[in-house]
């Protein structure tokens, strides 16, 4: 008598797994978002740029560049020697009047796409950008099937009170 419920809990487990995956994938999208950067920034000896517009571009760019020594930190947050050097590089390029795109291109030419926390949307990054939506669709499809399956089931007190993690 308990079999349908047991089958449902298999479903529920798969569902939970997929949802966890989808939710886990989402924060990656916003990982380098400037708004999310409440953490303390590493401070350079030469202080802030005098031009406020340049300083804010500097802060935004360095937050979007990965420190390759400590790979989960941005070069804005890291005190690694390489991060200090790369901040100096960004600062100099800004002062020299280079565009944000030129600075990102400089970095990816040398360190590869991995240096950017927010990879550009292109064929080879489609999977990264698309994965959360694929997960969501998959999870949604499973929920839909489970719900429809339940709606069709005869009301059965014993099965309904069986173990079910979705309750």
């Amino acid at each position: 008598m308990n079999r349908p419920a047991a089958r449902d809990s298999v479903h529920s487990a798969a569902l939970a797994l997929l949802l966890a995956g989808a939710l886990g994938a989402f924060p990656c999208l916003g990982e380098a978002a400037p708004e999310a950067a409440a953490g303390a920034q590493a401070v350079d000896a030469n202080g802030q740029l005098e031009d406020h517009a340049l300083q804010s571009r500097f802060e935004r760019i360095t937050l979007e560049l990965r420190c390759l020594v400590c790979q989960n930190e941005s070069i804005a947050d890291s005190n690694a020697d390489l991060a200090v050097d790369l901040r100096r590089q960004v600062r100099e390029m800004l002062v020299a009047g280079q565009s944000d795109d030129a600075i990102f291109a400089f970095m990816t030419d040398r360190y590869g796409e991995f240096v950017r926390f927010r990879p550009p949307l292109e064929p080879k990054t489609l999977l990264i950008w698309g994965a959360p939506f694929i997960m969501l669709l998959l999870g949604g499809a499973i929920i839909f099937r489970v719900v429809r399956h339940r709606a069709r089931m005869p009301v059965d007190d014993e099965a309904a009170s069986g173990p079910d993690i979705l309750k």
Partner: protein, 179 residues
């Protein structure tokens, strides 16, 4: 039937993912270099062994050479030093040293004490040349062909085995196609 197959398929997918992701042979910090196949970044730097001279990438145009990035602050560089010395004694290719973010005095002392495997040692005190080469840790070892293109990058201490399996075949191939 598919209700049993689905969890099983999910299990297989996870198993495959973990087999790749958790493979202890795989160094998750080693990144592919975007420089491979591209012209090696040019540099002209002070010769650490003789500051009145400079070391220039142009000198090695037309021959296959190795660029080894190191520093006296780098413990792993000391680890690979014996292997570098042994490799240099075979005279297969010139090895150029790039001393990364270091003092000249310390570099000279290191090479005097431990032996010098380098044909020339370029002093990159402020790390600008290293940025051009995409260096993010030491030691790193690059292989440049006779046309001046980077053909291989090895991250972490070099060993005799790595030299034989990764470098020598590429050197031979570069010479076959370049000559």
């Amino acid at each position: 039937m598919w209700k049993f197959l689905l969890p099983f398929a999910a299990f297989v997918a996870l198993a495959v993912l973990f087999a790749f992701g958790l493979n202890p042979q795989r160094d998750i910090h080693a990144l592919p270099s975007p420089l491979i196949g591209k012209p090696a970044p040019a540099f002209t730097l002070t010769d650490a062994m003789d500051p009145t001279h400079s070391v220039s990438s142009g000198t090695y145009q037309g021959q296959v050479y190795v660029l080894n990035v190191w520093g006296t602050w780098c413990a792993a560089c000391r680890e690979e030093h014996e292997a570098l010395l042994a490799i240099s004694r075979t005279h297969v290719v010139p090895i150029v040293g790039l001393v990364w973010k270091d003092d000249r005095d310390k570099a000279v002392q290191w090479l005097t004490q431990l032996g010098n495997p380098y044909q020339a040692v370029a002093l990159d005190g402020d790390g600008r040349t290293a940025i051009d080469w995409g260096v993010y840790g030491a030691p790193e070892t690059y292989l440049v062909d006779a046309q001046g293109r980077v053909i291989y990058k090895f991250i972490s201490p070099i060993t005799q085995q790595v030299w034989e399996t990764e470098f020598l075949p590429r050197i031979a191939a570069a010479r076959r196609s370049g000559a």
